[in-house]
């Protein structure tokens, strides 16, 4: 893969939950070594977009290329190979609660490499050093604080030295100081390992601190995709509302209001779970 092939390329992505059109013609490209922030309020579709980038959901139409490969046409083995070259830090950490922190971090190595246990131990402790959690490998996830869980999740995400790292809401649920230290960690990881990092967040402070480019999602559409400066100076009203934490006036549709009051349901039964692949 050459230097200028995008790490992630999304072209005209459209997705539905049942009848509801969630993502509308989303297109974006993330360059190697870039920290790309996907920002938007609740219900803007940013989590859905992330799940599509991770290959956990299948789109209605459009293509998603990760590290140059279209993830929806890959064979199972190729997809498995691709997944060893990307890391994901989930919002809740998603550490396996039945394993110690060390075993959690070592799991990808044990499953995908033929390294001996001594080497695996060294790599595991090395990654724990990187996220400033040295010496915590024997604790269980339930014994860690919120910030430590996020750090451990980062250690597990980078243990295979991925080219691409996804972070879902890295600062959610943390106090400002710890959240800021997670931001520093993200910056340090990019500088040290040169990976592309995609961060999904609604936290403005951390967005402006870490982002190279920002993609603002609103109601399933890309509202803006530009550098931090350009986004800050954008004159689009909705972007400014988002940046200045103004609530938006609800649209006025008397018919819809009456229908809601009368309890006439629209068909929104289908949930995300129905379309999930595998288990």
């Amino acid at each position: 893969m050459s230097r200028d092939t995008p790490s992630v390329e999304v072209v005209n992505l459209n997705t539905h939950y049942g009848d509801r059109h969630v993502l509308k013609n989303v297109s974006l490209a993330v360059m190697p070594g870039e920290i790309f922030v996907i920002m938007g309020g609740s219900g803007s579709g940013k989590t859905t977009l992330l799940n599509h980038l991770l290959g956990l959901l299948r789109p209605t139409s459009g293509t998603i290329r990760i590290l140059g490969r279209d993830i929806n046409t890959l064979s199972a083995l190729e997809r498995q190979d691709l997944r060893t070259r990307m890391g994901v830090a989930f919002q809740s950490g998603a550490l396996f609660s039945s394993m110690s922190v060390g075993d959690n971090i070592a799991l990808p190595l044990r499953e995908h490499t033929a390294l001996d246990e001594t080497t695996i131990g060294i790599v595991t402790r090395l990654k724990l050093e990187v996220v400033s959690l040295a010496g915590f490998e024997d604790l269980m996830p339930s014994e860690l604080s919120g910030g430590m869980i996020k750090r451990a999740a980062f250690a597990r995400a980078i243990v295979m030295d991925p080219r691409l790292l996804f972070c879902d809401e890295p600062s959610a649920g943390l106090d400002p100081v710890v959240a800021s230290s997670i931001d520093d960690l993200i910056l340090r990881l990019r500088d040290a390992m040169g990976m592309s990092i995609i961060v999904v967040t609604h936290d403005l402070d951390s967005t402006f601190k870490i982002a190279d480019r920002i993609c603002v999602l609103d109601k399933g559409e890309v509202l803006a995709l530009d550098t931090v400066e350009a986004i800050k100076n954008a004159d689009n009203e909705r972007i400014q509302n988002l940046l200045n934490r103004r609530t938006e006036e609800a649209e006025i549709d008397p018919d819809a209001y009456l229908r809601r009051l009368l309890g006439e349901k629209e068909n929104h039964h289908d949930t995300a779970d129905d379309k999930r692949n595998g288990l």
Partner: protein, 265 residues
């Protein structure tokens, strides 16, 4: 009339849901066996330590309670057998009834029910918690197939351990019955043992063991299906865990009847 159509609609929806759950279970079983057999060539081997850990959990840890309950069952059968046969004055023939009931029915059933209660529910709770904590997504994005990693090891462990546990329950149950019978009818344990060996056919023993292996598969798949269908947080986990025990025990008893019907007639 509208109440009746509503009833029909509920019935139809329930049947469709049940059918789709049945299909999900069959798919899971197929995939788990696929990974057990072909995992090695798809670079996703089912690892022996994982199977051993599950086997410890399902088997060794269940030994004490299985021992206690099979003792009780053996004693109960001996007491009931002697009581019933006394009406014909045939209490000396009690061993035949006890041997066949323990080996063909009671040992596999009690083992199945205990394992369903202990391990089937634990499996459902574990998978359910992993699902709501995004741990299953985490496995998937790491390139680790969740079925291979989470379903295949307990399935294999169950298929090996259930017959072994049943064999143990056979031995304990028959021994306990022997103690009571030899005391009550003034015989000796050695005489009872001789009688058991002459009455017990390999066919009867295998009947029980084969059933128990099937029960193991049922318990695993029911636990996994319920665990994987969890939604709605901790309350959902609790609900599906209870459901998995009820379903597993029902499945065991019904399958037992079908198996006996097909094999014995």
């Amino acid at each position: 009339m509208s109440a009746f159509t509503r009833f029909l609609e509920r019935l139809g929806r329930g049947a469709a849901r049940g059918l789709s759950e049945f299909g999900f279970a069959a798919t899971l079983l197929g995939l788990a066996i696929y990974w057990l057999v072909l995992g090695h060539w798809r670079r996703q081997p089912v690892r022996a330590p994982a199977v051993a850990a599950q086997a410890m959990d399902i088997g060794i840890a269940a030994l004490p309670i299985i021992t206690v309950l099979s003792t009780t069952i053996g004693l109960m059968l001996a007491i009931q057998g002697i009581y019933t046969l006394r009406t014909f004055g045939a209490e000396s023939r009690v061993t035949l009834g006890v041997v066949l009931s323990v080996v063909r029915e009671f040992a596999p059933l009690i083992t199945g029910i205990l394992v369903a209660g202990r391990s089937g529910s634990a499996l459902a709770a574990r998978l359910g918690t992993m699902r709501i904590n995004q741990e299953i997504d985490a496995l998937t994005v790491m390139g680790i197939n969740p079925i291979r990693f989470l379903v295949a090891p307990p399935l294999l462990a169950m298929m090996i351990l259930m017959p072994l546990l049943t064999l143990w329950a056979d031995l304990v149950g028959l021994f306990a019955a022997g103690l009571y019978i030899s005391l009550e009818l003034q015989g000796t344990i050695a005489g009872y043992a001789d009688e058991v060996l002459s009455l017990l056919k390999l066919n009867d023993l295998l009947h029980g063991l084969a059933k128990s292996a099937i029960f193991g598969v049922l318990v695993t798949i029911v636990g996994v299906v319920n665990g994987a269908s969890v939604s709605g947080g901790a309350e959902g986990v609790g609900r599906m865990t209870t459901r998995s025990v009820v379903h597993a025990i029902s499945a065991i008893v019904i399958t037992d009847m079908i198996f006996v019907f097909l094999v014995t007639r």
